[in-house]
Amino acid sequence: MANIMIRKTAEGGLSFYLPKRDLEDGIVSIEFDQADKWGGELRLANGGTYYVDPLDAPPKLPISLRAKRVDAPE
């Protein structure tokens, strides 16, 4: 588990930031993005995947969350 931060980019997409490794990347897809459920698996532009426990509602961004690494390219 690692602390991550998700924020909105100027272009309207989501970006992923992992402070511990200074890893910054775009989020290409998010598993749940509904009014009552938000989170789940995050797929990054670099090919990695992280998992955050789904929230009950879309949060106010930016937000710091705990995430689990599912799969990382390196």
Partner: protein, 492 residues
């Protein structure tokens, strides 16, 4: 100058790599690339933020340099103790020409080197007592300081001193901020982690100090973050931000103060100059205080205009008008600068190798003068820096990450740029090779280069360097042809 095609650039990289043993070659190959604008993800072509190879000459610094030298050092009304042996501090006091106003030694201290000067006994028995004593001494000698930061050098982490406890106690006693910074040089692969650690220390010890306090704010409050005021850069940026109607309530760390840092969370927008060294704190403020932030670029009129409009988009019409007014006002001045220097600089090729943001930000300024950047690279960038660089650079130009002394020399020999812009360690090598050189870390004792005023100086400096008559005097008279020899005789 030769223009290389993609294939030629690729084979140039291969050739340069040939001298390395196989393992090193494989590693270094990942850090060198030919630019391809169609790539979205720099990761596919270039690796960055990795440990340097042993045995090569890297130009990087350490985490302590990133914290003490870059982020904390310019905060002028604090005293920054280089905690550990005396050597590390030597390179980090005011050498970057972070200009500031104040009476040095009375209420500002950036140019003075404070160190705990560790001796053998401090390493053996620990230096916490010494640190406590030192803080008292500082307070007696320089009572007008607004705070103290303890910048750890390598040994502090190795011997396990508890600088946090000492700092906390001292802070209570003095009723000032005393900030322990765990920026030991062995952390991370370059100065980059030092920036991050320094940002975290600002977050934990400074930023929230005035939360809940009264502050007379306006809707137009902004801050300038991550401008180190090298040669007066931040001042040259600040004046026209104010001219367009914004109020700059804080500017750091160049010419920065503790009060400004503490007031930063009251801003409506954080303007970030050096993304690499201060995005951390901006992210934090966005999450905690809901302050948006944006990276701007004030090098050269084209980028300034772009940035001003993007900044204005965060505000109402009066600021948008203000931005247009500023742009219109400076336009004739910029046109005059370009009219004067472009004919003298047109078509010249530049290679850069610098730190934080300049390898991509100054490209626009060169292009405004009709020059072209044919190679660029960062000392300590991360992937996201290259993501943005790829778009700024032409196709088939060279990209090099954490380039070694050997590689850079070979690249320059082959690409034959008209100008090299890099640091002090490269300066004399290239000048001796007969290539015009500008020191692009501290502007070669010139500056400012940011903003409208800065661009005029930038253009003059580039012209002065490139068209300097000394470059035509490199062949001694006895090696010139007979005709030249006659001339000399005639002149005598």
């Amino acid at each position: 100058m030769t223009t290389l095609t993609r294939e030629e650039t690729e084979s140039l990289i291969q050739e340069v790599l040939e001298v390395y043993p196989e393992k090193a070659r494989k590693d270094r190959a990942k850090h060198l690339a030919v630019n391809d604008q169609s790539i979205e993800q720099s990761k596919k072509c270039i690796t960055s933020n990795r440990k340097s190879q042993p045995g090569v000459m890297t130009i990087r610094g350490c985490a302590y340099a990133g914290s003490r030298g870059v982020v904390w050092g310019p905060v002028k009304d604090m005293i920054h103790i280089s905690h550990g042996p005396v050597g590390c501090g030597q390179y980090s006091r005011g050498g970057r020409r972070n200009y500031y106003v104040g009476a040095t030694g009375v209420n500002t201290f950036s140019e003075i080197n404070f160190t705990s000067d560790f001796q053998e006994k401090d390493i053996v028995f620990g230096g916490d007592k010494k640190l406590a004593k030192l803080i008292q001494e500082i307070e007696q000698l320089f009572p007008l300081n607004k705070g103290i930061s303890v910048q750890s050098e390598c040994p502090i982490g190795l011997i396990g001193d508890d600088i946090e406890a000492v700092s906390k106690k001292a802070g209570k006693e003095l009723n000032k901020i005393v900030v322990p910074v765990r920026c030991e040089g062995f952390r991370g692969v370059s100065q980059s982690l030092g920036h991050h650690i320094a940002n975290d220390a600002i977050r934990d010890w400074v930023l929230s100090n005035r939360d809940g306090q009264e502050f007379e704010s306006t809707p137009y409050d902004v801050t300038i973050i991550g401008d180190y005021n090298i040669g007066g850069d931040a001042w040259a940026s600040r004046i026209f931000l104010e001219e367009m109607g914004l109020r700059v309530i804080a500017q750091w760390s160049g010419d920065g103060t503790v009060a400004e840092m503490e007031n930063t969370p009251k801003a409506k927008l954080n303007l970030l100059h050096c993304y690499r060294s201060m995005n951390y704190i901006s992210r934090h403020m966005e999450e905690k205080y809901g302050i948006p932030w944006m990276e701007y670029n004030f090098f050269g009129p084209t980028k300034i205009e772009e940035s001003l409009r993007r900044i204005a988009a965060f505000f109402d019409d009066s600021i948008k008008e203000g931005a247009e007014r500023v742009i219109a006002r400076y336009k004739p001045m910029m046109e005059a600068v370009i009219a004067k220097y472009k004919p003298r600089l047109q078509g010249k090729k530049v290679m850069l190798y610098v730190g934080g943001l300049r390898p991509r930000h100054v490209i626009g300024a060169y292009e405004d003068l009709g020059m072209e950047v044919v190679g660029t690279g960062y000392e300590f960038a991360h992937n996201d820096d290259y993501d943005r660089t790829i778009k700024e650079m032409g196709n088939a130009t060279l990209l090099y990450d954490d380039v070694t002394g050997f590689e850079l020399e070979e690249f320059v020999k082959r690409v034959k740029p008209d100008l090299v812009g890099s640091g002090i360690k490269e300066k004399y090598i290239f000048q001796k090779m007969g290539i015009p050189f500008r020191q692009m870390h501290s502007w070669d004792y010139s500056g400012p280069y940011h903003g409208y005023d800065g661009f005029a100086i930038f253009a003059r400096d580039m012209d002065m360097t490139l068209n300097n008559p000394c470059w035509g005097q490199q062949t001694p008279p006895w090696k010139k042809g007979a005709a030249a020899g006659d001339e000399v005789k005639a002149a005598a």
